[in-house]
């Protein structure tokens, strides 16, 4: 088992390295550079000397190979350097946003799980009945609605209903405060985006639960369980769900990883100062160091999540456990 974990950990390296190389090259493909943008982001005169100086200061005058090695070496030491845009340590810039994104991702994932597993199960058990159709339509509607649209509707709905109920319009806070500082403020801000994205993401997991369960329900061992005279509830819970959850776990894991960086649009709508927004900003600003760090963060979250999923998988599936 330890060996398995170790091997899995080692396997992350090439993916991360590849991601590093990819983002490094991609960034250099983007026309323009951070110094020009920073020195002359607006209209007006650009002093070429100042730009050169800026290049030198940021190390952009070095060869790509050196820059890449520097980036990797920093990454290995967990030293992400400073943002080329603001000149501040990346860790400082990212910390709060990471916290926010993580919180939203966790809440959205919980929402998704809480919706998906019961809905998917009902839908599979009642396959091809109207219950099934309603559940499927409900969950697909979640994917079909553009998230920003849903967000705008939610905010407007809140403003309008609160006005008619309390007399003054209420909207979720637009500034993040960590959960332990002011839980009420925090939750009233995060709950809506979490619900909206959670609903959205539950669609995938619901569908997965349903089809996995349908498949499992056709398996021989479920027939065996029925032939043994077990009650239906027990068959679903112990025999079918146990196996059907395996692929669901994978999907949820991947979705979780994607939620960490992929909420670009939702963040805009709810004014969440999260990683997605930062990513967009740093790409537009050609902030190489920040973009690289973010990409590595997202990639690392992805591989780590995958790793955790594999461990959970192994824990759920004895066939892998002892390999």
């Amino acid at each position: 088992m330890y060996q398995y974990i170790l091997k899995r950990l080692l396997l992350m390296i090439p993916t991360l390295l590849g991601a590093a190389l990819l983002v490094f090259l991609l960034l250099r493909l983007v026309p323009g550079d951070v110094c020009v943008l920073r020195m002359a982001g607006g209209a007006g005169y650009v002093d070429p000397k100042a730009i050169d100086l800026c290049h030198a200061e940021l190390g952009l005058d070095r060869s790509y190979v050196v820059q890449f090695l520097d980036f990797i070496w920093g990454f290995v030491r967990f030293d992400f350097g400073k943002s080329m845009w603001t000149g501040r340590p990346i860790v400082e810039e990212v910390a709060l946003r990471f916290e926010l994104s993580l919180q939203i991702a966790i809440m959205a994932t919980l929402t998704a799980i809480m919706l998906a597993i019961p809905l998917g199960t009902i839908s599979a058990v009642k396959q091809n009945t109207w219950i099934d159709y309603v559940v499927r339509a409900f969950s697909i509607a979640g994917i079909a609605m553009p998230s920003f649209w849903l967000g705008v509707l939610i905010i407007l709905g809140l403003l309008i209903t609160s006005k008619s109920v309390f007399g003054s319009p209420w909207m979720p806070p637009i500034k993040y405060v960590p959960l332990w500082v002011d839980p009420l403020h925090n939750l009233s801000m995060t709950i809506f985006p979490a619900l909206a994205t959670g609903y959205r993401y539950s669609a995938v997991a619901t569908r997965m639960t349903r089809s996995a369960l349908l498949e499992v329900l056709r398996e021989d061992y479920v027939r065996t369980a029925r032939a043994k005279g077990l009650v239906q509830k027990l068959i679903i819970r112990r025999h079918a769900l146990g196996n059907a959850l395996l692929p669901v776990v994978t999907i949820i894991g991947i979705e979780f990883a994607f939620l960490m960086g992929g909420l670009v649009v939702t963040e805009q709508v709810f004014n969440l100062n999260g990683l997605g927004k930062l990513f967009v900003a740093s790409v537009t600003n050609h902030d190489y160091t920040m973009t690289q760090a973010l990409v590595m963060l997202v990639a690392a979250i992805f591989v780590v999540t995958n790793f955790v999923v594999d461990i959970v998988y192994a824990w759920l599936d004895p066939r892998i456990r002892y390999k």
């Binding site: 091997k7 080692l10 396997l11 390296i13 090439p14």
Partner: protein
């Protein structure tokens, strides 16, 4: 005696068991075929029997060069297939054909029967002209007991037995000399099996074909084959003429195998004593030392666990790998 068509010498096929995608390491080897010797003469049907996983299919795949053997040589018409270059191999390929077990997945579901049968002719250029190919397809279909109209059908529009006939027609299309039948009838219904067996027999007589007939149904093998080789865990444990083998099995494994086959006659069956061999076939990943059969062998003595038995010719044409008898 007819000349040798295929000669297998000390053929080994060890599959590495690889773990880890990055620092992939061979953690074990599956000795699917572990040093077998066989000859198949022209016009002869050699039966290859043995239990699941003993390496029958692998042997066939090595001859077809679908696997690259770990060691040994396979002589076909005097040419060693193991180290033949791609080009010469391609030329030889039309002489060696194969019929697979599963009539459902051995035909490309997206191709019409006609295309399936004519494709090898087209690629090998045996029949460069389309009209000639179509005529040959019709002829082959008729030969295999199918209506030539079937050429326009897709495989899913046919029954299992009919598909197996298409498989046979495809194998025959390039006029091979040697056909490997890997469990060619096991997937078929009992009532259909006999039809195919008869067909194979007829074709053999008509074209002087040589078969390697891989099967686990001992009674079918007895019906169809001239000589029979019994495999166990990657090795050949007994090889003899058909009647000799069935009438006078020497190896304890062969005896157990024959004893385990019930015959469709209740009076006979109930009278017959059953010698049931204990245990199950071990994994080829770590086969027992010495004689691979010794853990299950009723005759085993201490030395069996140590000494690998020699493959001896105990009687003329009857070879056995057992050191006790």
């Amino acid at each position: 005696m007819a000349p040798e068509l295929v000669t297998i010498r000390n053929l080994k096929m060890h599959f590495p068991v690889i773990e880890g995608a990055l620092f992939s390491k061979e953690v074990a080897r599956v000795k699917a075929v572990d040093g077998i010797n066989l000859t198949i003469r022209k016009g002869e049907t050699l039966g290859l029997v043995g239990e699941s996983g003993c390496g029958k299919t692998t042997t066939g795949r090595c001859i077809l060069r679908l696997e690259h053997p770990t060691g040994g040589e396979i002589l076909f018409d005097g040419k060693n297939l193991v180290d033949l270059d791609q080009k010469s191999m391609r030329a030889l390929r039309q002489k060696i054909q194969v019929i697979f077990q599963d009539p459902y997945s051995s035909l490309n579901p997206r191709m019409k029967i006609g295309e399936i049968i004519s494709e090898p002719m087209k690629v090998h250029g045996t029949e460069p002209n389309k009209a000639a190919r179509d005529a040959r397809v019709a002829e082959l279909l008729r030969l295999c007991g199918l209506d030539p109209k079937f050429a326009d059908r897709y495989p899913h529009e046919m029954s299992g037995g009919q598909r197996q006939r298409v498989g046979i027609a495809r194998a025959l299309s390039v006029r091979p000399e040697f056909i490997i039948c890997d469990e060619a009838i096991s997937a078929l219904d009992v009532s259909i099996q006999a039809q195919i067996i008869n067909l194979l027999e007829d074709l053999r007589d008509q074209f002087g074909l040589t078969y390697l007939f891989i099967a686990h149904d001992l009674s079918v093998v007895r019906h169809l084959c001239h000589r029979v080789a019994v495999m166990y865990l990657g090795k050949i444990v007994e090889l003899a003429d058909c009647d000799e083998l069935y009438g006078n099995p020497l190896h304890p494994y062969t005896q157990a195998l024959l004893a385990a086959v019930p015959v469709p006659d209740p009076d006979l069956e109930r009278a017959r004593a059953h010698r049931i061999v204990k245990g199950e076939v071990p994994s080829p990943m770590n086969p027992p030392r010495g004689c691979v059969f010794h853990p299950r062998c009723p005759l085993a003595v201490d030395s069996c666990a140590k000494i690998v038995p020699e493959f001896r010719e105990l009687r003329p044409g009857h070879w056995v790998a057992c050191s006790v008898i």
